[in-house]
């Protein structure tokens, strides 16, 4: 019977662990649905604690990509969203599920590829034209394929190039930016990436920046609140407090210098209160 008693003892131990499990419901919790790039760059690890210290709210950051963030917000499963897909965002604004869209910051996308550049896009200025060349040569291209902000931008560029990408050269990874960069590097393929992710992975991959600086490559982040009229259960006050914080001078100052120490250049440019950079697609 000793085995049984020991088992009971273990069970008791486990149950006491259960009692110690942190309390669940927290009225002051704000659910922030956002894109992986803001989390992976480490920016939110700096901004979120700053916000929590000020305002009596705790933030639950769910980093899932822009498509899913917007969908969660529209269902009222999040309180505030921070995303980077202007075209998609406007659809949700029009439906009225998300409100009070405010510009927070931008950085840019870059077109990266194998250093020997088989499609010969280096030196060009227009991203859409470069996409055209890649398709024409049938050079391999890795797409996120996950309805993220980056994927949404990529689709807009294919559309601008007048191409429906299809075929053996067009690979959909269905994964985050880090994994996609790694796949592109291993396969010697081109891909579209935000600059912050590229800088974080630069050391580990054999991909070079081949095209940058074209206006459509701007990567613009907005914050939007979930419409409390549609979803009475959302933490509207908390969502608004977080959105207000993101455009406050304090947060904007942090954004301005974030990343300089590690990469020698800032990862994001604060834009609160300014007109949307790059004259809006």
């Amino acid at each position: 019977m000793r085995g049984l008693r020991l088992g009971l003892l273990l069970l008791g131990l486990l149950l006491s662990l259960l009692a110690a499990a942190p309390a669940a419901a927290d009225r002051s919790a704000v659910i922030l649905a956002t894109t992986t790039s803001t989390q992976d760059s480490g920016l939110l690890d700096v901004l979120v604690p700053l916000f929590e210290k000020k305002g009596g709210y705790t933030v639950k950051t769910i980093a899932v990509g822009t498509g899913q963030s917007l969908a969660l917000g529209a269902r009222g499963e999040a309180d505030v969203v921070l995303v980077h897909a202007p075209t998609l965002e406007r659809e949700y604004l029009a439906k009225g599920t998300l409100v009070n869209r405010r510009l927070v910051m931008h950085n840019d996308f870059v077109l990266v590829g194998p250093p020997d550049d088989p499609a010969g896009i280096k030196g060009g200025k227009a991203a859409a034209a470069a996409f055209g060349k890649i398709a024409e040569r049938g050079s391999r291209f890795v797409s996120r394929g996950d309805n993220s902000g980056t994927h949404s931008k990529e689709r807009a560029l294919w559309k601008a190039a007048g191409i429906a990408p299809k075929g053996g050269w067009y690979v959909e990874s269905g994964q985050g930016m880090g994994a996609t960069l790694t796949i592109a590097s291993e396969k010697g393929a081109y891909t579209l990436t935000d600059r912050a992710s590229y800088l974080a992975f630069k050391k580990r991959i054999r991909l070079a920046v081949l095209l940058e600086g074209d206006t459509p490559l701007l990567n613009i982040y907005h914050v939007m609140e979930v419409n409390p009229a549609r979803h009475p259960k959302v933490n509207a006050a908390g969502g608004k407090a977080f959105a207000d914080f993101m455009v406050s001078p304090e947060a904007q100052a942090v954004i301005r210098t974030f990343g300089v120490e590690k990469y020698g250049e800032p990862l994001f440019f604060p834009d609160a209160g300014k007109p949307e950079p790059g004259s809006e697609r």
Partner: protein, 230 residues
């Protein structure tokens, strides 16, 4: 290879310096998977024993269902538990989504069928003559159960290990229902996914090694109990 070596060095460093964030993540992993395993034992052992001993119509179907449940894909569990716990879902009022409790629920759903199925197999492999003999010798039902469970203790402990292993190694469900929130629901597996996504491969390797070490220690302790008195 150099990367793995860096990872080993870094994981030792994290352990020796007692990095509070990593320790917190490790503690939460153990807590969530420990509680989930405990609950799955409470449900799975009685249920598995009952199914092994009882004869009822549709038993074959129920057993097949449990055996299928042993291979439940964690992402499927994650998706359905998320939908149940959404604000707009049937259990939304509990506000459990993105909490450790939600992760316990998901891991319980993953571990319970494993424990049930292995208990069922463990009890069933005891020859039925043995049972009849016990009853003939005048054993009460409670006495019979005790003896049966003791006879089956080796495979039962294997069931505990498999249940715990299913929980602590799983990432899909924890990511979906926990949200991988820093300081709240980040466990070793989800932290590994995050650090890989950030390109911090050395830290990701360090976290993986930590996870392996912990799983080993837990299983070593359970094996010790299992093999102690043969």
């Amino acid at each position: 290879m150099e990367l793995i070596w860096e990872g080993i060095k870094q994981s030792l460093g994290l352990l020796l310096t007692g990095d509070p964030e990593v320790l917190g993540i490790t503690a939460l992993s153990l807590q969530v998977s420990g509680v989930a395993t405990g609950l799955s034992l409470l449900v799975g052992i009685p249920l598995g024993t009952l199914m092994a001993l009882a004869r009822f119509p549709g038993r074959a179907l129920v057993v097949s269902l449990v055996n299928t449940g042993m291979g439940l894909p964690p992402v499927v569990v994650g998706l359905f538990v998320s939908i149940l716990l959404w604000r707009s879902g049937p259990l939304g009022v509990l506000e459990l989504l993105y909490t450790p409790t939600a992760m316990v629920i998901a891991q319980f759903v993953i571990a319970a069928p494993i424990v049930t199925g292995l208990t069922l197999a463990a009890v069933q492999q005891i020859p039925s003559q043995f049972r009849l003999q016990m009853l003939a010798l005048g054993a009460s039902r409670v006495q019979l159960l005790r003896v049966l469970l003791r006879e089956a203790r080796l495979p039962l402990l294997a069931a505990v290990m498999a249940g715990f292993g299913g929980g602590i190694s799983e990432v899909g469900a924890s990511l979906m229902v926990g949200g991988n929130i820093r300081g709240q629901t980040r466990v070793l597996t989800t932290a590994t996914v995050l650090e890989t996504g950030k390109g911090n491969f050395d830290l990701a390797i360090a976290l993986s090694l930590l996870l392996l070490a912990i799983t080993f220690l837990v299983n070593w302790a359970l094996t010790w109990i299992q093999q102690r008195r043969r």
